[in-house]
Symmetry: C2
């Protein structure tokens, strides 16, 4: 693969991944980071050359990214859509929707094991903060919510999550990397929100859960204008390093 530019996607997450998956993840990161600007037209042949690969894995990547709505496959070339602020708001709409749904089921089952698992993840997040590991923190943050969703055993709700996850992952990765550099004390509040989430599950308190969800999301959404956009600029200029 081309090494003229640093990879944005954590390489350690791709240890056993295929070339197709690598291209998918890296392309997604570059699009969401704004390195590949929206409106740009991607050619299978050109991408294959850029990544020193054949068209097969590139095709696979484009199909996936199209299903995530960050590119649009047309007759001649794939047009980059990118991630707009509207998309980010919509994604949180969907997260609120499915996590609320999940919580409804949650209050009806035994959550002993779940909350223990969540506490473990919370401590992992704390360690990640301590060692300024943005990628690890992002991973655990996503895992936190995925663990909750998985706990109710609803395969179609999980499917929605899985379709949403890659784009969220990229977004959160970029966002957290920026925060670790600039607004480090944000993390105190993020941790508090997550702790509150666990409390809501333990107490089976619906309104408390909604409250913590909103807090968490408002926290992120409020930052979109300034932090996110500046982050996009940052990514364009720097090309973050992660090995």
């Amino acid at each position: 693969m081309a090494d003229s530019i640093n990879f944005l996607y954590p390489e350690k997450w791709l240890l056993k991944a295929s070339v197709g998956d690598r291209i998918t993840c890296e392309l997604r990161m570059r699009i969401i980071a704004g390195l590949i600007e929206s409106g740009a037209i991607l050619s299978e042949n050109k991408l294959a050359a850029d990544f020193s690969a054949s068209r097969s894995p590139v095709r696979e990547a484009l199909k996936k990214l199209a299903s995530e709505n960050i590119i649009r496959l047309e007759r001649m070339g794939a047009v980059v859509i990118g991630l707009t602020e509207k998309d980010i708001n919509e994604i949180y709409d969907v997260r609120l929707l499915i996590e609320s749904f999940v919580f409804e089921r949650l209050v009806r089952i035994d959550t002993e094991e779940l909350t223990k698992e969540l506490s473990k993840i919370l401590e992992m997040m704390q360690v990640a903060i301590k060692y300024r590991d943005a990628d690890e923190f992002s991973y655990q943050d996503l895992l936190f919510h995925e663990t909750i969703i998985r706990s109710v055993n609803h395969s179609h709700i999980l499917m929605i999550w899985n379709n949403l996850k890659p784009v969220m992952e990229s977004f959160i990765l970029l966002s957290m990397r920026g925060r670790f550099q600039e607004t480090y004390n944000d993390f105190t509040r993020i941790m508090e929100n997550h702790a509150l989430y666990i409390e809501a599950i333990k107490a089976k308190d619906r309104s408390l859960m909604i409250q913590s969800l909103h807090k968490n999301f408002d926290d992120v959404q409020g930052k979109v204008d300034d932090l996110w956009m500046s982050q996009q600029m940052l990514a364009k200029g720097v090309g973050l390093n992660n090995d």
Copy 2:
């Protein structure tokens, strides 16, 4: 493509489709109809031979079906999961979830044009019933709900619908074909439910909408045990014709 067996998917819906799409749709139908039983192992090479195509479009198809959770890609071969009763229930969970969400937005906008469009679709459905055209009826039925969802311009909710749609399409196609043969008078009630839905939108009456949605879904779900399972048997034995 092999013509040793009749195709389950309407050929007229595939007029401009690629080989990959054809294989995707046909495989999905056969899996959901139970022609390909759950637990079966699909080989890319074997499927390519069966459909007189190469591995490329078959691969594409398997990737898509895996994203729909009706097959599972493993190291050696793709394992058929199929559509269980649990899946059908879960799909309706999700439909209730997103259509409720959509309705919340709907009550805040002008629905003049939407209801007119829906009335048109309703009349199309009536014609389809009159001429015993199960495929056309299924198409309009799905279009009815998709039109409602599209009207609120929420691309991520639409994404959820799009991911769900193919499986629902297959299921509804098979279900409706069976009903046209066996329980023809079901359609009176289906039409009433849809008319009620339009009324709910016009009146912006939330509880009326939920009521019609539940009626519509309960109607379908109640039939699952008997009708759906018998339909599966039917499909296995007959191999429906549609040209």
